[in-house]
Amino acid sequence: MSKKTHVQTEINGEGIEFLCEPRQSLLEVLRDELHLTGAKEGCNNGNCGACTVLMGDRIVNSCIVLGVEAEGEKIETIEGIATSEGLHPIQQKFLEHAALQCGICTPGFIVSSKALLEQNPTPSEEDVRFWLAGNLCRCTGYHKIVEAVMDAAKALNTEVADNA
């Protein structure tokens, strides 16, 4: 076993320190060291998106990011999406539209969708389908996921308009 490295980072708004082996992926650190098991492993080579988290303002597949790369970063995981105010509109719309079946890919889709709507508040269906192509879902055929994300965009825009 190689010597562990000390890493200081921020996860879901909280300062976090952890020790990890240089070979451990961010996903392994989140799940096995910090017990944040919302991000899932589906392929461990960056193809399925079940492990998607936000690192700074980028979405990353945490299975192909090393834990040590989290040093000084701001990480947001599925566990940080809902707040004390309640579910995020994307989460609510996934429930209303039945946009999940087994649910294993759902955390990754929600994190990816949040990043999309932060960058592009009024995506077309084509935009949503293109953006989410990095997340595999084997149950839903994507139809209801796309509907949920489009509807969440609408809800978020209404929220913004109401607050203005």
Binding site: R31, G42, L100, Q101, I104, T106, C137, G141
Partner: protein
Amino acid sequence: MPEDKEFKVIGTRPIRHDGIDKVTGRAAYGADIHFPDMLHGKVLRSPYAHARIKSIDISKASSHPAVKCIITSDDLPLVEDTITELGETVINLKYLSDNILASDKALYKGHPVAAVAATDPYAAEEAINMIEVDYEILEPVLDVRQAMEPDAPVLHESLKTESMGKGEDQSQNVASHSQRKHGDLEAGFAAADIIVERDFSTATIHQGYIETHNATAQYNEDGELTVWCSTQGAFGVRDQLSKILKMPVSKIKVVPMEIGGGFGGKVQVYIKPIAALLAMKTRKPVKMTMTRTEVFEGTGPAPGSYIRVKLGADKTGKITAAEAHLIFEAGAYPGSAVGAGSLCIFAPYKIDNLQIDGYDVVLNKPKSSAYRAPGAPNACFASECVIDEICQKLDMDPIEFRLINGAKEGDRRCDGPIYPKIGYLETVEAAQQHGHYAESIDKTPNGKLRGRGVASGFWMNGGGRSSVTINVNADGRINLIEGSTDIGGTRASIAMQAAEVLGLSSEDIMPAVVDTDSVGYTGVTGGSRTTFATGIAAINAAENIRAQMIGVVANHWELKPSDVKFKDGTFLAQKNGEELQMTFKEVAAVAGGPLVGSVTASPGGAGNGFATHIVDLEVDSETGKVDILRYTAIQDVGRAIHPSYAEGQVEGGVAQGVGWALSEGYLYNDEGHMTNASFLDYRMPTSYDLPSIETVLVEVPNPGHPYGVRGAGEVPLVPPLAAIANAVSRAIGVRMTELPMSPDRVLEAMGSI
């Protein structure tokens, strides 16, 4: 049941009970299990597709400081080479056990040979690479037609072909040959004005669930084994563990965690007995998870197949005779879905003269397992493509052809049963009337080729045993305890049926999927049985509760139970000219203790499922790439309990069908090694590969269920392969007969390469 019956809960779209856990990341799946002192298990797998294991030397690996235990097949109890009942199926125990850890021979690349438990997963991986195995490499056989040749390499020296109960002079790789026939085939073909005969092939493919297999086992000093895992059926896992480990079922507790997809692929056990054995030997919890490559190389794919179909019809479009030969890949051990495929191949049609031969053939690939309507998509791909060709040759509308030949109540299915009330023709009529079919397609816009395809499909649907317990709380909300793992929203579809009986809302029911110690025997979530059979168990348990509550109310009002009526969630009676009434919640409060209703149901009458799909697509004549433009899926679901999740089953089935038709397939090199064992190279459809999928739910209530439910989960995967192949064939003017229809195959068919 009257068709116009008004429902309060059924047909509505409440939020699923497990939804919040699943959108917040809180839902606990098998890989989320963690024990502070747990060990990690890893499997050493055969690097060869076919090899004799001469010896295994574990001495170097044992000296690894982090290694706690190493096992091989010698550590599994010896089991007999006999057929035994397992849950609701039969299986040869020796094959079951040998697939867990190979004994004398490794029969596919990825076949487990040994396993290690170590203090961390990296050490376990290092250690398996230190195990030295001496193999005698044997020639592999990877194609069913080659495996049937007399001089083909033999997988199992002891295997004898079973043919209609007798031995048959076949290659030793043919595990079984079945035949179904009725009528006079020769006369039927003689009466035909047109006959089409073609060969079809489909690739080995995978269910592609996103969650890989996992198992965590713990063995206590009193001999009690607990296994936390991802499975479609905890009781099926318990049965398999009991047989493989030779332990009484009551000593085994299986805890089904949330499951990340299954589609038939999470019924058979793989690493669960290994984790159990490692835990038994180390007396520590042992956790195992598969990598994606292990899932591809070591778990049941859906069988590849070769199918020949010959169909005759007269000038009016009436089918006069049908003949099919289906040859399915069993994989390393007997038991492909060829039987089910043989039942389904011509099932949508009334055919007086037919013969169907099915062959189950072993070869050096992983043991095949179920995948959503197992066998039916392969089979119907062949038959529905031949039907389309006959329609082209007769210049007949394919919907019209199906209306002429479609099976209905009273017609005989190819394997004997007479159809009860079915909704096949209703799906065809709905397709005919749909706006999609009414709108014509422009066949050659911008130099691209467009085509429309139609196909139908059939699946039996299943019943079988399910248990449900309902506890009524003093506040009137109820716990619904069930054994059916929830893969796609069945907590909701089952709870809603109990709610309907009790006049409650879906939110008043709190469903819980529990372990094998905490509920009665329940079959797997599979066979499209769960909303039907566990639903009936829930209805029966709710009726039991309702009867008990009537007793409570009668007692409270000092009346006879027969004086008390129940309507819309309210108990009513008349006493001395006075109208009395109490709500469900008020009765729960006065009951003075918990009310418990426990039921085991084993309903037959599952009600067959039919679907008809329409697809429009575009072929790029330069690249051979196929783009789906529009997809409409019409299905008889009997009664949609939660329409959103019924639609979800259809949409998901279509997406898997698009993958099967266009992009998915195991690629093998000459040594029998899969060369695309990752999600990068095994191409499942993404959101960008698919259009919106329009679903039309037809409701022809199933007389075998109080609310009319038919299974809905499997039949949506049956028509897409043929629908897409028919559309591609019509677009390019060449009949496509091999799946997947990858760009290179399309270009080849067009004569471009």
